[in-house]
Amino acid sequence: MKRLLGVALGVLTAIGGFVDIGDLVTNAVVGSRFGLSLVWVVATGVVGICVFANMSGRVAAASGRATFEVIRERLGPRAGLANLAASFLINLMTVTAELGGIALALQLASSVQYLLWVPVAVVAVWLVIWRVRFSIMENVTGLLGLTLIVFAVALFLLKPDWGSLGAQVLAPSIPEQETAASYWYYAVALFGAAMTPYEVFFFSSGAVEEGWSIKDLAQSRINVLVGFPLGGLLSVSIAACAAVVLLPAGIAVTSLSQVILPVAEAAGKVGLAFVLVGIVAATFGAALETTLSSGYTLAQFFGWSWGKFRRPAQAARFHLSMIICLLIGGAVLATGVDPVLVTEYSVVFSAIALPLTYLPILIVANDPQYMGEHVNGRPVNMVAMIYLVIILAASLAAIPLMIVTGAGS
């Protein structure tokens, strides 16, 4: 019974923790401009993150070490440095975007200017990382993030034309007012949002934090294979709400305040309360994860003592690096840069850096020296290789598409 509860909690946390500011904004932008014609990208991204998150969890459980630590040792410092540079910079952008997301959501709840909420968000994230136990931190934000299910509820309350939505999913086409370049630019952005690199670094480091062993692999697999696809459905429902309410009204999403309007239309103030709690929880949870990921990658590359399972004094550089990341994120937002714009860039840059994250994981997961009998099987390798091709194509296409479309504008 206790084990069953553990599995249920893990799945629910995985669903609630799946959506972050990147998913929220990108799915709403895409829904408001392209309807559901890019759902296939979300599905592709979700399968990809399931494959690689599962792989990195297995690396951590089999070797007892986090993926990045093994990559550094297995591929050497130069390859490790390239991996570190790419993932760390993108992590930092994502930390900034998530802090901005918390502040924007709190502005929607209070009408107090979001810039005043930024220092509050920075301090709150730091305090939780400093004081709260890893499992409590993960479970509370994940479970509160579940309130975003209100998007799915709102979709049913809006009584959409299901046939039309289904047709958009099954026969995707580019709307008249949009260009093919914009369509593919947002396809890359959605893919980057679904496969954000920090997710696998956090997942594998979290496995070490929680002391996973081989016998925990089954539960981790269920969390990933059930939780992430359901989280993906949540992403699709955000896009669908935007497609049903905003697209026909000629509203192209450029701010977080527009994302919540379909929920308010369908479920009124109660729905609004749920969606605001969900956005704060999702962005706060993701801010914790990205901040920790920044600390993990740096500490694991330089061989510092790391982990929340250690007292802060025993992992001083790990904690100091996270404080610096939070301060940088806060300082960037204090310049007045639009957090939604930072989010849009962060997901595209995630797509650019994807090969640097996922190729090394695949190499390590095939190394019997670390994995023993738990190396990838042939079917997993085949799927992973297909994904590497997709990842490489998305990575190479991102920059030209960004230039051609003026970053999707």
């Binding site: 591929l75 050497g76 130069r78 390859a79 440095l81 390239a82 991996n83 540079a85 790419a86 910079l89 993108i90 502005q107 929607l108 709840a109 209070s110 009408s111 309410v245 009204a249 000629g250 509203i251 192209a252 450029t254 701010s255 305040s257 527009q258 919540i260 309007l261 308010a264 239309e265 009124g268 103030k269 609004l272 860039y345 595209v348 840059f349 650019i352 850096a353 090969p355 640097l356 190729l359 090394p360 190499i363 990575s395 190479l396 991102a398 920059i399 960004m402 230039i403 051609v404 479309t405 003026g406 970053a407 504008s409």
Partner: protein, 158 residues
């Protein structure tokens, strides 16, 4: 060893890709810059039209009791910011021929109507003496939306 070194090179190439991406941000800024005056005017009016439609939706939800005052005020603020950005884009244009100058002038007038509607709507939400009303704001926004739509159609016909 050779495989390891190839992997290192591949990883470094990837890092270069990310650096190239940073350059792309700058370039995409340039790409977003005006190609031609009519294109820029059209994009600015389209963005403004989206902002006005957002404001109208928020006002309607507020009137129906479905949105809190804080959420309505924030949505209207964001819409106003969008209009200001569009207006700044138009003001930064340097048209070289009379037709383009006229086009910009007309577009600015259309955007001003949207701004006026939005400020009235914000006043209505913040008002403690009942004036202006949400309906006053919506009426002005409806007129601005109509004018933007007509202007966009006129641009499309040119």
């Amino acid at each position: 060893m050779a495989i390891g070194s190839r992997r290192s090179r591949a990883a470094l190439c990837g890092a270069w890709l990310v650096c190239a991406g940073v350059a792309a941000i700058l370039l995409s800024g340039c790409a977003g810059a005006p190609g031609s005056v009519p294109d820029t005017v059209s994009t600015a009016v389209k963005d403004s039209s989206s902002a006005v439609a957002t404001a109208r939706l928020a006002l309607g939800l507020d009137a129906d009791g479905k949105l809190t005052m804080a959420a309505t005020a924030t949505t209207l603020d964001d819409s106003l910011k969008e209009l200001e950005t569009a207006r700044t884009t138009l003001l930064q244009l340097s048209p070289t021929v009379q037709n383009d100058r006229d086009l910009r002038r007309e577009a600015l007038a259309v955007l001003d109507e949207g701004t006026s509607g939005l400020t009235t709507a914000r006043d209505a939400v913040a008002s403690t003496d009942g004036s202006p009303t949400l309906q006053d704001g919506d009426r002005l926004l409806e007129a601005a939306a109509g004018r933007m739509s007509a202007f966009t159609a006129q641009l499309g016909g040119q």
